[in-house]
Every structure is written in structure tokens, then in C-alpha cells.
């Protein structure tokens, strides 16, 4: 039971990862799919950030007063990953806006149905 509780950050990571994947698969609404994608990516941020924290650790400043410090590298990596995530989300939403003007819908099944009707024309 101690291992279960002491690894809680990993359990949250797994939960977010699975929840994000589930939303992307189960929801037909394109905006909801993007929300799922964001949750999915958030799980990775936690996977990197959580082990970088040492209890009682300070910022990595070289000083006589401090002995224990947290690793700054995961934060830098995840800053990059967050920027990538924002770029993906913004591009995804921009494409959804254009899909909505082209099809008049953002429900996947309606869009597929609209294309199936017009296959031989296009």
C-alpha cells in the first residue's frame, strides 16, 4: 500500500493519459477530440516534472547554504513541450474552424456522411 500511495504522481499520469486517449477515441466532436489531446499531452508534463522535484530542494543555485536542489532540466524540457502543445492545439482549432466553414458541422459522423454523398463529384 505504501508503494501505491507513494507513487501517486505516476497514477495521476496514467489516469490522464488514459482519459485523454479515451476522449479522442470515444468523442466524435472535433473540439472535444482536441480537448482530449490536450489532457493526453498534460500527462507527459507530469511524467517529466514530478520526478524533478526533490522534497526540501531549492532552485539550482550554487551556494554554501544549500546542499539539495531540484533538477531544472525537466522544467526546461516541459516548457518546450508546453509550447509544442499550444502550437498543436492552436493549429488544430484553426483547422476545426475551417472544417466548420467548409462542412457546416464539427461532428465527425456528419462530416463523413457529407463526404460520402459527394464522393463522385469531387
Amino acid at each position: 500500500m505504501t508503494t501505491f500511495a507513494s507513487h501517486y504522481s505516476y497514477w495521476i499520469t496514467v489516469l490522464l493519459l488514459a482519459a485523454g486517449l479515451y476522449i479522442m477515441i470515444a468523442r466524435g466532436n472535433l473540439v472535444k477530440k482536441l480537448i482530449g489531446l490536450s489532457i493526453f499531452q498534460t500527462s507527459v508534463y507530469l511524467l517529466y516534472i514530478a520526478p524533478g522535484k526533490l522534497i526540501g530542494g531549492t532552485a539550482p543555485i550554487v551556494s554554501e547554504a544549500y546542499r539539495v536542489y531540484s533538477n531544472p532540466l525537466p522544467h526546461v524540457l516541459i516548457l518546450t513541450a508546453i509550447v509544442v502543445g499550444i502550437a498543436t492545439l492552436a493549429l488544430g482549432l484553426a483547422i476545426v474552424v475551417r472544417i466548420s466553414t467548409a462542412y457546416g458541422s464539427i461532428e465527425e459522423d456528419e462530416i463523413v456522411a457529407a463526404d460520402a454523398g459527394g464522393r463522385d463529384r469531387a
Binding site: L79, V83, A94, T101
Partner: protein, 139 residues
């Protein structure tokens, strides 16, 4: 919302300080939390705040699309320019040590310009995204 006097006054009072706070965050990045990413978002937020109060057309007159697009492109070029400056002064790409006679001062100088590049890009991208989504009209 242009006719709301409270909003107009609060906006006019706040926006200069928001921009100044962005600069504070930008230059404090050397010593503590801060830097180009946060400063860029704060600076862009002040313009977005202006757009919310005075309307999108007014914001587009203040910071036209051409300026925004130039910012988006200029930022990476500043960043890459720092890298190429390292090359020109005899180091490797993105070498800050050679940017000054004193290697530590060189590191300061390199990261200063890189953060300026980040500030310009991030605020440009934020404004571009805001303009695109706010300016979208259903045909």
C-alpha cells in the same frame, strides 16, 4: 464596450503598467523567475485587453497585422542571429562564450538577445492567434 467609462478609465490606467510589468518580467529573467515567454504573453495580453475594451478594429489600428506578422518572423531571426554571431566570432553555433571577452559576460549577452527574440515571437504569435480567432466571421 467603448461607452463604458469605468472600463475605459481602468483600461487606460492599467495598460501602461501591464506593458511595464512585461518589461520587468523580461529583464528579471536573468536573476529569477521570468523571461521572454512570460513577458511576451503579458505584453500580448495588454493589447488583447485593449481590444476587448475598444474593439478589435481599434487594436488592429494600434498594432496592425503587418507588424504582428513581422514580429512572428523577426523573433526567430533574432534568435538565429545570436547563433550565427557565435559562429562569426569563432565559436560553434549558439556559442555565447565568445560573444564577449569575458565568457560569463558573453553568456549574459547571448541569453539577453535570445530572450528578446523569444519576447518578440511569443507576443507576435499570441496576437496573431487572437486576431485570427477574434476576426473570424461565419460566411
Amino acid at each position: 464596450m467603448k461607452r463604458e467609462p469605468v472600463l475605459r478609465v481602468v483600461g487606460k490606467l492599467l495598460i501602461p503598467y501591464m506593458l511595464m510589468f512585461a518589461l520587468y518580467v523580461q529583464f528579471h529573467g536573468d536573476f529569477g523567475p521570468g523571461g521572454g515567454f512570460q513577458a511576451g504573453v503579458i505584453a500580448a495580453a495588454s493589447i488583447i485587453f485593449y481590444a476587448l475594451i475598444f474593439g478589435l478594429p481599434a487594436a488592429r489600428r494600434l498594432v496592425p497585422d503587418v507588424v504582428v506578422e513581422t514580429m512572428v518572423a523577426l523573433g526567430p531571426l533574432i534568435y538565429l542571429g545570436v547563433g550565427v554571431a557565435g559562429l562569426a566570432l569563432g565559436g560553434n553555433f549558439l556559442d555565447y562564450f565568445v560573444l564577449d571577452r569575458d565568457p560569463v559576460a558573453g553568456q549574459h549577452r547571448g541569453i539577453f538577445w535570445v530572450e528578446i527574440g523569444v519576447l518578440v515571437t511569443v507576443s507576435g504569435v499570441m496576437l496573431k492567434i487572437f486576431y485570427m480567432f477574434a476576426g473570424h466571421r461565419r460566411p
